[in-house]
């Protein structure tokens, strides 16, 4: 007998958490003398009020789906991969090399090539911490976060010393060739009002496909069964002949690959070149997305949409209300992360009690 119906677990509790987070954010906005209702309206309108807003919201959503799924897959094996930031950065490197050095005849082939490169580079960056965890017991949280710094430094070095276009001051690669440019939403959904300038591109569909693939992997394949079993109890996994080393490695490789795939959206799809620090915290947002989405692909999708909207709406708010600075937006986002991720039990425990007391007594 479960403590709560499933809908309460998956929908009601995150919803209450978000409402609480927004109330707290509203208090912060009111504290600096602005109207919280007006701020709310600007954010919602900015994220969903126009095709322009939707384009950015869904573009961010695409990033967060990839990094959220990455954290979710590792979570199922009870591995806390907080190295999404570095793995995504390396994915960017893979995309850049694939796009720069191969003359692609058509974007669809380029997309396949770049997706593979992004996944391989991301997975490779996760492989070392995974190996250290599996074989040496070095804690994955420590090693993945250290690898974020190494990735960041490595990319600075490569962009400044190897990929920088001669004569340019900007630490970034040359623009990718025409054949790699992904169709933006204006070409496949122009009838919805998307302009050519919109960052939303076909990799959104790759992200949706990744949700389906992860769902199949975790709940329908033998590997997913083994990953979840290992995540619940390592002793039991050993009893059943599931190798902890193998599962740790595979789960982290898949996780790293998903994080790396974020690059096809941001690097290949939007910037069309690799710029320094392109990940911009999406790897960390992935942690909040996975927590809020309870590591389920549907939850990850919804949470990614929420955070996409917060990013885009926040940018609009910053623009429309000068009193609200960039830092205030970060505070609001942090409050959402705090309430949905860290304070989950604060809402969960009273709700569980409530549902238990509502249930008819049975002998």
């Amino acid at each position: 007998m479960d403590k709560m119906p499933k809908w309460a677990d998956v929908i009601l509790i995150p919803l209450i958490s978000v409402v609480l987070a927004l109330l707290a954010s509203g208090a912060v906005v009111a504290f600096i003398g602005e109207s919280p209702f007006e701020a709310m309206r600007i954010m919602i309108d900015g994220a969903f009020g126009s095709a322009y807003g939707w384009g950015y919201t869904l573009f961010y959503t695409t990033n967060f789906i990839f990094t959220g799924l990455a954290v979710a897959v590792a979570f199922h094996a009870r591995l806390f991969n907080i190295g999404g930031e570095g793995q995504a950065a390396l994915g960017g490197l893979g995309v850049a090399m694939m796009a720069l050095y191969i003359p692609w005849p058509h974007w669809s082939l380029a997309l396949i090539g770049c997706t593979i490169a992004a996944a391989l580079f991301g997975a490779a960056w996760a492989a070392i911490p995974a190996y250290l965890q599996a074989k040496r017991g070095s804690h994955i949280v420590i090693t993945t976060i250290m690898f974020n710094f190494i990735a960041s430094a490595l990319l600075v070095y490569l962009l400044v010393n190897v990929f920088r276009v001669e004569g340019s001051m900007a630490p970034e690669t040359a623009r990718f060739a025409e054949g790699t440019h992904l169709p933006s939403a204006s070409t496949f959904a122009g009838f919805l009002g998307f302009r050519p300038s919109t960052p939303l591109n076909v990799s959104f569909f790759v992200a949706l496909a990744a949700c389906v693939a992860v769902w199949l992997l975790i709940w329908r394949t033998r590997l997913g069964y083994e990953i979840r079993a290992f995540g619940h109890s390592e002793t039991a996994a050993v009893y059943a002949g599931i190798s902890p080393v193998k599962i740790t490695m595979i789960a982290m490789l898949i996780s790293g690959a998903l994080a790396g795939m974020m690059a096809i959206n941001s690097v290949q799809g939007e910037a069309e070149r690799l710029v320094i620090d392109y990940v911009q915290g999406a790897g960390f947002v992935g942690i909040a997305v996975a927590l809020m989405g309870r590591s389920h692909p549907v939850g990850v999708l919804l949470a990614a949409l929420l955070f996409g909207a917060l990013y885009q709406g926040g940018a609009e708010l910053e623009f429309e209300m000068p009193a609200i600075s960039r830092e205030m937006i970060v505070v609001i986002q942090a409050l959402v992360i705090l309430f949905t991720g860290a304070l989950d039990n604060m809402v969960r425990m009273p709700m569980e009690k409530l549902f238990l007391s509502l249930r008819p007594r049975s002998e």
């Binding site: 403590k3 329908r220 050993v238 190798s243 238990l356």
Partner: protein, 512 residues
């Protein structure tokens, strides 16, 4: 007549829809040993937790020595003179006895004066009740029996007049248990009141004055021990007649199935857990391994089950060698070779508690071709298989979609037993098959093990319950400190004899 030491009136407690205690009344006279028996989940622990202040009762009154008392927390319980000795000791392993005794009852910020004061009190208490323990010994150097004495001393130091002991003999050798009962007798003579919670009916018969039986949250009977019998108590516990003795025919051992030679296991910390063990099991034979927990039986099961590698030695199954050190030494390979394994701890090893029953039915056998559908798992085939197994193995409720943690201990064990025995393994490894399992399920599981033996399979049975070893085994080996300290036939031995072997008294020493 003096007021009873403990009087409970109409205690009720519900956890959500589950009524754990229902209108329970109990009265225990001062200076009596009162037993409480009942199956798992009958509500014994809940009742004692209410008395000790862990839970608050929804309804009802607690009267201590004729005074109504409210016990909101364990501090209040201690003030009311109630002490509890838990099944799993709550001692700090690297502290000395006296340090553990004063833990939480220190007099001031500085330790030295309270320790020297406590040492004196402790020595007096030890003398008064015959509980010899060196006050300056470190806990981890003490035997389990002595650690338990420290727990009792801790309660006496806090001036407890009422002692609650929760399954106190689960970890003791028979002779240690006898010593414990002598101590309880002494405490009783000194006027202490003792409540003994146990599922071992023999202990109830041996030491208690009165006994209460609990079933499904209700107290079904309270009787004078002298006026009842084990069979009568078992019937009250289960609600129907139960076979306490295992019925089986004589074994007809065939060829050697399992041949273990010089098996050694050194664990990660360098401790030698198995010291050159050799034995054989034949087809149609049950070899029982007796011993106090922690003498290498777990490691023996784990090596044979492919969970840990051996350091050296050889194992053959039907004459074919089994890899016990290399790549082929894992649970999957063992299952392919026809070795089933009912592990000692179903909740940590044998089942994934959040997994639904059908997922657990495939656990370890999830590579079985009949569970596959292309690259995906054939979930509907597994569910159908699970429903069918649940029916044949009488798992209640027979719902494949229920998570394992929501089944009772006995039904969880039946899921494991169904999974491991239904494939008719050539060799079945069974660890503590009935630990924490209700009497009805024990009967069922024992019958299944006997049936497998009668079908000509080999069974290795590890259990700390001597009754179980004596009742099921065709041969008995006793393990002590990583070696087999003796072998017996069940008809030629008894608990006392096995108890000596379990305590490490080898034959030669015994004869001398």
């Amino acid at each position: 007549m003096t007021a009873p030491a403990i009087e409970l009136k109409g205690i009720s407690k519900a956890f959500g829809p589950v009524q754990a205690n229902k209108d329970i009344s109990l009265s225990v006279q001062k200076g009596a040993i009162h037993g409480i028996v009942g199956e798992n989940g009958a509500g014994k622990s809940t009742l004692m937790s209410i008395l000790y202040g862990f839970y608050k009762a929804d309804k009802g009154e607690i009267w201590i020595n004729g005074q109504q008392t409210s016990i909101p927390d364990s501090q209040a319980a201690i003030r009311a003179g109630i002490g509890m000795v838990h099944q799993h000791f709550k001692l700090v392993e690297n502290f000395t006895v006296v340090e553990n005794v004063i833990l939480g009852a220190e007099d001031g910020a500085m330790l030295r004066p309270s320790i020297s004061k406590a040492r004196k009190v402790l020595l007096d208490l030890e003398q008064e009740y015959g509980l010899e323990v060196n006050p300056d010994a470190v806990i981890e150097d003490l035997s389990v029996g002595h650690q338990q004495r420290v727990e009792i001393l801790k309660q006496l130091y806090r001036e407890a007049d009422i002692l609650i002991l929760d399954e106190p003999t689960g970890v003791l050798t028979p002779s240690e248990a006898d010593q414990l009962f002598r101590i309880l007798g002494r405490l009783k003579d000194e006027g202490k009141t003792i409540i003994l919670i146990t599922h071992k009916l023999r202990e109830i018969m041996d030491v208690t004055d009165t006994v209460s039986v609990m079933r499904r949250g209700e107290m079904t009977a309270t009787v004078k021990t002298a006026e009842t019998s084990p069979a009568g108590l078992a019937e009250l516990m289960v609600g129907r007649k139960v076979l306490l003795e295992v019925e089986k025919n004589a074994a007809t051992p065939g060829e050697v199935v399992l041949d273990v030679k010089d098996l050694r296991v050194v664990d990660g910390t360098g401790v030698e857990r198995l010291k050159s063990i050799s034995f054989q099991i034949r087809a149609g034979e049950i070899l029982g391994i007796a011993g106090v927990a922690g003498n290498g039986q777990s490691e023996l099961l784990e090596v044979l089950g492919g969970m840990i590698p051996a350091t050296s030695g050889s194992v053959t199954l039907h004459g074919q060698p089994i890899d016990i050190t290399g790549r082929e030494s894992d649970g999957q390979s063992r299952r392919r070779r026809g070795i089933g394994h009912v592990p000692e701890d179903r909740q940590v090893e044998g089942l994934i508690m959040p997994y639904e029953a059908w997922e657990n039915v495939a656990f370890g056998y999830h590579h079985d071709p009949k569970y596959q559908a292309g690259i995906l798992m054939n979930n509907s085939a597994i569910k159908a298989d699970c429903a069918e197994k649940m029916e044949r193995y009488d798992v209640r409720p027979p719902n494949p979609r229920l998570p394992a943690r929501n089944f009772s201990g006995g039904n969880q064990q039946k899921i494991v037993v169904a999974r491991e025995m239904d494939r008719h393994p050539d060799l079945l490894l069974v660890g503590q098959p009935t630990r924490g399992v209700d009497i009805g399920a024990i009967e069922f599981i024992h019958k299944q093990i006997i049936a497998l033996r009668d079908a000509g399979k080999a069974v290795l049975l590890v259990s700390v319950e001597l009754d179980e070893i004596l009742g099921l085994s065709d041969r008995i080996a006793v393990m002590f400190d990583g070696v087999i300290s003796g072998e017996r036939l069940p008809e030629d031995t008894n608990e006392g004899d096995l108890g000596l072997l379990m305590a490490g008294v080898t034959e030669r020493q015994g004869a001398a």
